[in-house]
């Protein structure tokens, strides 16, 4: 349904003196490809700066991609403007991370929810009211609250409103950018369950972006792990979590704390040394090689390709045999 091919987003950064003409680029997203099937959740995980949010924004056409292709149901989205872009936006909507800053404080909830209906549909005001009342019920909020302002709601309730807004125009795909990371743990579970229910009810596809690997595991059918602007491993959720192939995925999983003291005591961590290198100055070869425990000579000169490593996952690593 959604097909992303070789997506690139490079931000120019000027380096050198004021009059220097030389421009260098931050390769925030550098050749990302994946597809999203109807009714499926694809989880996109990685640490800060890996390009997962930039990927989402490029798909939403909120920032301009530098190259590649994004197809929705066969239609190319790159370069669309005006009316055509609005048509696409009706099919693909987004929920943002911070429930406190993503709602206009001067608008009532009714106004917030009507906004996408006004700009993307030709509903009459009566139809709009019916629709927003229905939306409130869908996300388990009392329609009585429609004429209140965002500050009167808790973080969890605001995130429900954000979800309702995204669903207003009956999209097929919802891009969720860290939708639960700003919420308290007991509220996170409520929102995760709601997202699961809505997916079944409306046959939605989710592109789910998060840094919390446990949350991603709960929600996703497939997972893509990103590192420095590239997907390093992608596959079925159970395969990636149970048999991680790429050393970075292995390190990432072994760093996640487990809420079980006995297992924590017995566990051997695979600690990564060092920090993520600057995306302006990427290391040669595999960009993970300076931190990788398995790196050998080839990793420092040749960039690995994403290749099948198990029946249901692909990874880009020279140290793991392809099948």
């Amino acid at each position: 349904m959604l097909e992303v091919k070789d997506l690139k987003v490079h931000f120019p950064v000027s380096r050198g003196g004021l009059f220097s003409k030389e421009t260098r680029f931050v390769k925030a997203v550098d050749g990302v490809s994946f597809d999203l099937k109807p009714g499926e959740t694809l989880g996109l995980v990685g640490e800060s700066g890996c390009g997962k949010s930039t990927t989402a924004r490029a798909i939403m056409q909120l920032i301009e991609a530098s190259g590649g292709s994004i197809k929705l149901g066969g239609q190319e989205l790159m370069g669309l403007t005006g009316v055509q872009l609005n048509k696409v936006r009706q099919q693909i909507q987004m929920v943002f991370q911070n429930p406190f800053s993503s709602l206009n404080p001067r608008m009532t909830i009714a106004e917030v929810l009507s906004e996408p209906l006004k700009s993307l549909t030709s509903f009459t005001s009566k139809q709009r009211l019916d629709r927003i009342q229905y939306l409130m019920e869908v996300v388990n909020l009392n329609p009585k609250f429609l004429f209140r302002y965002p500050h009167e709601f808790s973080g969890g309730q605001r995130q429900r409103i954000n979800i309702a807004r995204a669903l207003a125009v009956e999209p097929k795909i919802v891009v969720l950018d860290e939708p639960v990371s700003a919420l308290d743990v007991s509220i996170q579970a409520q929102i995760i369950n709601l997202l699961q229910d809505l997916q079944k009810q409306f046959e939605l596809s989710y592109l789910f972006i998060a840094h919390d690997l446990s949350v991603v595991k709960t929600l996703s059918h497939r997972v893509a792990v990103m590192y420095l602007g590239k997907i390093v491993e992608i596959g079925d959720t159970s395969t990636v979590y149970d048999e991680p192939q790429h050393p970075y995925t292995q390190a990432l999983l072994s760093a996640v704390p487990i809420p079980d003291p006995k297992r924590e005591r017995e566990r051997r961590r695979m600690l990564l040394t060092g920090e993520i290198p600057s995306p302006i100055n990427l290391p040669r070869g595999c960009s993970f090689n300076p931190r990788c425990p398995k790196a050998f000579a080839r990793c420092r000169v040749e960039e690995p390709k994403l290749e099948p490593k198990t029946v249901s996952s692909k990874a880009s690593c020279h140290a793991v045999a392809s099948i």
């Binding site: 640490e47 996170q188 579970a189 840094h211 446990s214 059918h221 990432l252 760093a255 704390p257």
Partner: protein, 329 residues
């Protein structure tokens, strides 16, 4: 032996919406050399109680209504600002959640570390400098000399947090309070910092209070855990007590509602219904009553007493109708 003893602490904030009782008759002790985890959601009073220990509460709007904080034989709440200043850093120090805002962006790391030494110790500048570099090296900061002469913006988040930890350890305090030290960091960096805290605790015998909302972090690091809710104690015990012999319904709810790597894709979580309480309205009844599956009449009329769960007095909970027995061991 208890190194710190908090008894009957009540802290209120006077706001436009009314009086918020952020900490409500809290008792706890910190044993020498242990790692105590304080867990709770926002508004549970975990940070406020620790700011009170440090004498860092903004008064007003905050007001300490009652209580004692015994450090040795002395009540820290009776100390003047000048006296507290000698305690902070020397005896008790604190690291904060956000390493990005805790360092002054205009000053070099060296200036910020040396400031602590100049203020609190009688060392000569050369000795002080040597001590700073020694601590940076102990904390595994690569190329300490270079970082010492850097500005904060030249360092990554993980390194900044290491610098903050270094700053808090310069004077070898007996107690280190870490307020969500890894929440702002990525998981691979979080693992490094948690390992570091473990190592500090082992090598120097520093007692650590770790404030967090992450039950996974608690499981890996803490000897004892105190779960807080609505400014009060929910449950306190050894890590094993809390995870395997859970008594308080809130602790149970918390453990069931967190997604963990052991879930299977598509599994349903078991959330705690409702939202955390409005602290201006919590009266003399159980703060968790509205969200609790086990609620009965007495929960809504009286605040439950702190009750002992086992013989040796190490496991306590504040509940009339606790969860029984062993679970998910």
């Amino acid at each position: 032996m208890a190194i710190l003893k908090v008894s009957d602490l009540v802290v209120e904030f006077h706001t436009d919406e009314g009086i918020v009782r952020a900490v409500d008759r809290l008792n706890f002790e910190l044993e020498a050399g242990e790692v105590l985890g304080i867990v709770g959601e926002s508004g549970s009073g975990k940070s406020v109680s620790c700011l009170t220990l440090m004498g860092l509460l903004p008064i007003p709007p905050a007001k300490i209504r009652s209580g004692k904080i015994l450090f040795g034989d002395n009540d820290l709440l009776k100390y003047s600002n000048a006296e507290m200043r000698k305690i902070r850093g020397h005896e008790i120090s604190m690291i904060f959640q956000d390493p990005f805002t805790c360092l002054n962006p205009y000053l070099k790391i060296s200036t910020q570390l040396m400031e602590v030494m100049e203020f609190h110790s009688k060392k000569t500048p050369a000795e002080a400098r040597r001590r700073c570099l020694e601590v940076l090296e102990q904390l595994g900061i690569p190329d300490p000399e270079l970082r010492f002469n850097s500005y904060p913006h030249q360092l990554s988040g993980g390194l900044k947090q290491r610098i903050m930890i270094a700053m808090s350890l310069l004077l070898q305090p007996k107690i280190l309070i870490a307020d969500e030290p890894t929440t702002a960091l990525d998981v691979t960096i979080q693992a490094q910092i948690l390992d570091l805290l473990k190592q500090i605790n082992k090598d120097h015998g520093t007692s650590i209070i770790l404030i967090t909302h992450d039950m996974g972090v608690v499981a890996g690091l803490c000897d004892r855990v105190q779960v807080m809710y609505g400014g009060r104690l929910a449950e306190r015990g050894s890590s094993d007590d809390i995870f395997y012999r859970t008594r308080h319904p809130y602790t149970k709810g918390l453990l069931y509602s967190i997604p963990s790597l052991t879930v299977k894709p598509g599994d349903r979580l078991d959330p705690i219904p409702g939202a955390p309480p409005d602290l201006t309205r919590v009266g003399d009844f159980c703060a968790f009553a509205d969200r609790c599956d086990f609620v009965q009449e007495d929960c809504r009329t009286h605040r439950p007493p702190v009750t002992q769960s086992n013989e040796d007095g190490s496991h306590w909970f504040e509940c009339y109708h606790p969860v029984e027995g062993e679970k998910n061991a």
